[in-house]
């Protein structure tokens, strides 16, 4: 198991480095620099500024400098939010995003897995058809449509829940978390159903049933764990989907999360901020893929072998 983690880390770190270097080079290729104002700067002022920010060095040197700074948690100054460093902005907004994303992942797993298992147990019956149709519809619904629609129905028409911003208590969390979890729960339901349906068709399950073991016991003892393997493998893509969804949801519900800063940064060409968020998102996704591998190994012992 330890070997598996090591091997994954071995590929994860180069991937992350490649993303950072690639994004960095892209940023430097962009037309226009941070000191291009309406009035051209005097050459010596510009030179002084560039020296201060390390922009007079060669590209490889700049990349090394940037990587070194990242290691110490310094993502540089924000070009738009002048009084803040990028690290401060991220530190403020990341907890909100993690809270919403984490709750949405939890909700999606609970709903998705129960719906998927139920559907597999009732395979071919109407409950299965209805649940799977619902799952397909949920996966197809984009968050930027469901978010505003939920806000319209529950916020403006029924006046049950706040539409925007962070109020007191936890009621402000409900709509964003639900909107964010819907597509993921649909995908998880499909995977859980496929996993369990595949398991139930296996010989050892049929054997257990023939011996008269209670269906619930068969499910708990034999079928459940391997059935969840496809769900675990979806964890990485789910993280990516939640992060992109969070960008929209935070914009729709006016929450000061990381995604919103990312969009603002992208619209304002705030390069250090965008670069920091891409780096952070990439590490989160890689982390979740790693986590998926761990859960994979826990669910399916064959995966723990080095040869697997």
């Amino acid at each position: 198991m330890g070997q598996l983690i090591l091997r994954r880390l071995f590929t994860a770190i180069p991937t992350l480095l490649a993303i950072i270097v690639l994004s960095f080079i892209l940023m430097r290729l962009a037309p226009g620099g941070p000191f291009d104002g309406e009035r051209p700067l005097a050459p010596e002022t510009r030179a002084a500024l560039e020296a201060a920010y390390g922009l007079d060095k060669s590209l490889p040197e700049q990349i090394m400098l940037y990587l070194g700074n990242i290691m110490t948690g310094d993502f540089g100054p924000s070009l738009v939010y002048r009084d803040f460093s990028v690290t401060e902005l991220v530190a403020q907004s990341l907890p909100i995003s993690l809270l919403i994303g984490g709750l949405a992942l939890l909700l999606a797993s609970v709903i998705g897995i129960s719906a998927g298992l139920l559907s597999a147990l009732r395979a071919g019956k109407w409950a299965d058809e209805v649940l799977m149709l619902a799952a397909t519809l949920l996966t197809a619904l984009p968050t930027f449509v469901t978010g505003p629609l939920l806000a319209l129905i529950f916020g403006l028409w029924l006046r049950l829940l706040p539409v925007s911003g962070q109020g007191d208590g936890i009621s402000w969390l409900i709509l964003p978390v639900i909107a964010l979890s819907l597509p993921v729960s649909g995908a998880i339901a499909k995977l859980a159903r496929a996993g369990l349906a595949g398991q139930l068709a296996q010989d050892h399950i049929r054997m257990a049933r023939a011996r008269g073991i209670k269906p619930m016991t068969i499910l708990r003892r034999h079928a459940l764990r391997p059935a969840l393997v496809p769900v675990a493998s979806y964890l990485g893509p789910a993280a990516a989907s939640l992060l992109t969804g969070a960008v929209v949801i935070e914009t729709v519900f006016g929450l000061p999360g990381l995604g919103r800063y990312f969009v603002q940064g992208a619209l304002n060409r705030d390069y250090p901020l965008v670069l920091a968020v891409v780096t952070l998102y990439a590490s989160l996704i890689i982390l979740f893929n790693l986590l998926a591998d761990l859960i994979y190994g826990w669910l399916d012992p064959r995966m723990r072998e080095p040869s697997a």
Partner: protein, 271 residues
């Protein structure tokens, strides 16, 4: 499979020819009736805050979203088929390296890389669809590679090889026609994916730019005024969702019919 396709065809036809029947352009301002209600002053769906006809904007937005999606899906089709066919045909080490690259790209936070491209190179419609197409080819490449591998050992291909037919010719004449149905099924599944990405970018203001419009922009504008005019949010949202769902259902059913290997196997993830 037929009903969803008919609905999509209807929407596409309406978006293509509808604007010609309207007296208003999608960016044309009717100064005399700004924020007109439904069915007033000759505006069937009324006008927005700038006095632009909502129906014209909806139809043109649908058209642009659909054209961007189709163009991007075709880009994805071309890259994916070439990549997958070469990997599957050549096999061995080349195949391993090419598929490793696909695996690696799968793990990247793509939406953010596309946004990064938009930030760096400016926001243009051309870049939107090249960017999306370059992102969405991965699944296509995997599927095509699998199909090519399976076909490679079939007698008719072996016969062609034994007859001394050059490799590229076998690929073009014997293999590509046989993977076309599967490729088209995945093309159909790529289109709704791309519709989502495009609308997502446009919703955030990073995709299609004014004076052009798209369903994503309309949903965004609608969300801003949903308290006074819910129809402005609901209509573009409904068109978007209908297109995505219909194409997904049609594509899934087509794919399932082609790869009829039991429902459980079909619903397993791509890996």
């Amino acid at each position: 499979m037929r009903t969803p396709l008919i609905i999509v065809a209807f929407i596409v036809l309406l978006a293509m020819f509808g604007p010609m029947l309207l007296p208003w352009g999608h960016a044309q301002i009717d100064w005399d009736s700004v924020r007109a209600g439904l069915m007033s002053d000759g505006h069937i769906l009324g006008t927005d805050d700038l006095g632009r006809d909502r129906l014209a904007r909806l139809l043109v937005g649908t058209r642009i979203t659909m054209s961007v999606a189709l163009a991007a899906a075709l880009v994805a089709l071309v890259i994916g088929v070439i990549w997958g066919a070469v990997a599957g045909w050549v096999g061995g080490r080349t195949d391993e390296v090419m598929m490793r690259i696909v695996d690696g790209l799968y793990a990247l936070p793509f939406m953010f890389i596309v946004i990064l491209l938009m930030v760096v190179f400016g926001r243009s419609i051309l870049l939107v669809f090249i960017g999306i197409g370059a992102v969405e080819w991965l699944t296509m490449a995997r599927v095509v590679r699998g199909e090519v591998m399976a076909l490679k050992s079939r007698p008719f291909v072996l016969a062609a090889e034994a007859a001394g037919t050059p490799g590229p010719r076998i690929l073009l004449r014997h293999i590509l026609p046989n993977i076309a149905p599967v490729a088209i099924a995945y093309l159909m599944l790529t289109v709704p994916q791309v519709v989502m990405v495009e609308s997502f970018l446009s919703f955030l203001g990073l995709g299609v730019q004014e004076p052009l419009t798209s369903l994503g922009i309309l949903v965004n504008e609608g969300a801003a005024e949903m308290d006074v005019n819910p129809a402005a949010l609901i209509l573009p949202g409904l068109v978007l969702v209908t297109v995505i769902i219909c194409l997904t259902l049609a594509g899934e059913r087509w794919r399932d019919r082609l790869t009829g290997t039991g429902r459980a196997a079909r619903m397993a993830p791509d890996q």
